[in-house]
Amino acid sequence: MPTDASDALGSTSKDYRTTSGIPVKSVYSPDDIRDFEPLRDLGNPGEPPYTRGVHRDMYRGRLWTIRQLAGFGTPEETNGRFRLLLDQGATGINCVFDFVTNRGFSSDHPLAEGDVGQGGVAIDCLGDIVRLFDGIPIDDVSVSLVLSNPVGAGSIFATYLAMAQQRGIPWEKLRGTLQNDFLMETVVLTAPNILEPSFSFRLSVDVVEFCTQHLPQWNPISFAGYNYREAGADAVQEAALVIAHALAVADEMVRRGHPIDSFASRLSSFFTADNDLFEEVAKYRAARRVYYRLFQERFSPKDPRSSRLRFHVQTSGSALTAQQPLNNITRASYHALAAVLGGAQSLHVSAYDEALCLPSEAAALTALRTQQVLVHETGVTRTADPLAGSYYVEHLTDEMERRILAYLEEIDALGGLVRAVESGWVHRELMGTSYDREIAITSGEKKVVGVNCFTDDVPLQIELFQFPSALEQQRATLEELRLRRDQDAVDRALGRLREAVEGDENTMPHLIAAVQAGASIGECCDIFRALHGGWHQPLL
């Protein structure tokens, strides 16, 4: 069994490196940050370049949002979990959808049989979203809808907007976030019949554009660095891809004629918090600084909020292990600490049973309690950016910034992010990093407690969460929808949606009209797939 500290984090005794490969010395001194100018590189919290955080007094002024993921089975079951989490002190909703829904297919699609309600809630139409948010004060609490893929994000968001209208809640009052990330659709995840990257990107910007005009408090896109990381990226690639994506969306919005200050403050990001504590903190700090500098340089915004990187953190799922699952509570606590030391605006702590099943009630509550312990017992919220000035952390932040900028140059040289995806470059990058890490684990070079060292079973069983299939109910919902709707009205609405796609019009108003007329989400998205589907994902 390794007892030597040199075994930690994949380093050997001769070659200490962070997880993303930055060399680490045994001790740091003022010599290591000689180029560092506090005024230029740090500023004050709440001021450019935002290295120290986006608010002046950080968590004293506003605590991060405690936003635990929930979503499984039917809309009614997930509604119950929302209520439980809000009752127990969560301060935001974070709804996850099953893969069928997230890809904009109907629950009665032949491929969907095993996946309906698995890994997220199943939603097929406006009626489902009404039941999902029944009794939830959506004019008061902020709601994150983890609609990852632009193919389905617009349609499902359309049902959310139609539901708000039914309840008499003006769209201007809605606060929340969509993921709506074309890399999720084309790089990070896989599915049948994938949209062309350029079209998926266009749909995502349609939502950004629509929200800019109608939902001033909504974050219409969240660049899902978390998921880039889960798909294989290291910390540098994660931050660089998030920033590349933000720049690409800003470019496209400006091209469509929107001034930078009309939308940029609503662009939001989403990072992981993984094992390498100080590297993760440096990542958040460096990402804020690079984001600020590049947005200033390329878009010259007048509003300081336009170049501020705000982000949600989810503690790493892939760092959790199926073996000795209670160790995951410890891991997730360190991950959450990194997020808070790095100045996150919102946090989800992953459940200890995540590598085994969907979170049970006990695991979901323990994750919530982990956040509450952090807030109320550790004292980490007392002062902003507590690690500032540490020779090591400032050195790592500088080094991370250099590497992020170098990676962004590579992406620019490829013709930008959409082109880099189309060519398969992003896929190859993530797979390469991921495979190297797997080999390091397989060979034992990188230690994972309970997996390749200290593997003696801890005599403890955890209870796995099980719930009934949502398929029957969703099938019945769809059957009833098709029976009672005005088919001519649905056909007309879908026809107009098709014309909008073909004519480069914004798709959002037509999606809202279609779901109000009684179209299912699957029917709307089938139009996208019919016109721009069938992209071959360059995986192998």
Binding site: R103, G114, T190, P192, Q323, S434, L540
Partner: protein, 136 residues
């Protein structure tokens, strides 16, 4: 010795492909031929196994769809008379489900955290000599 041929598939809508890709890449490194077919219906998966004359079928599930999809694939393989094919299952598979699927004819289950070499070693041994059920 002819190359060992492995068909790898995701079932239904399960969107996590990283594990399947890591295994695919490693098996190729170890000298096997891998045909990755992405997200498919059980019928298409079995058809590919037959058309490719593969000795091994690798299935990956992290979405919870394994108890619906895997038994159906096993049944189709039996119906088509290709039940000598070794079916490997990887991903997030609860212990109780592992037991049940091994009983139904899955040859080995490799959950998250399994070593890539262990998977490749197992395949080499099983294709050479045949092998009993393994739970990892």
């Amino acid at each position: 010795m002819p190359l060992i041929k492995v068909v790898m598939a995701k079932m239904g809508f399960d969107a996590h492909y990283r594990g399947a890709m890591m295994v695919a890449r490693h098996l190729v490194q170890r000298g096997m031929e891998v045909v990755y077919i992405g997200n498919r219906l059980p019928e298409e998966i079995v058809r590919t196994v037959i058309d490719e004359d593969a000795q091994v079928l690798g299935l990956s599930s992290l979405s919870g769809n394994h108890m619906v999809m895997v038994p159906r694939i096993l049944r189709l393989l039996r119906q088509e008379g290709v039940d000598r094919v070794k079916v490997l299952l990887g991903g997030v598979i609860p212990t109780e489900d592992q037991k049940e699927l091994l009983r139904q004819g899955v040859a080995a289950v490799f959950g998250t955290g399994s070593s890539l070499d262990a998977i490749a070693d197992w395949i080499e041994a099983a294709v050479d000599h045949g092998s009993g059920p393994v739970q990892a």
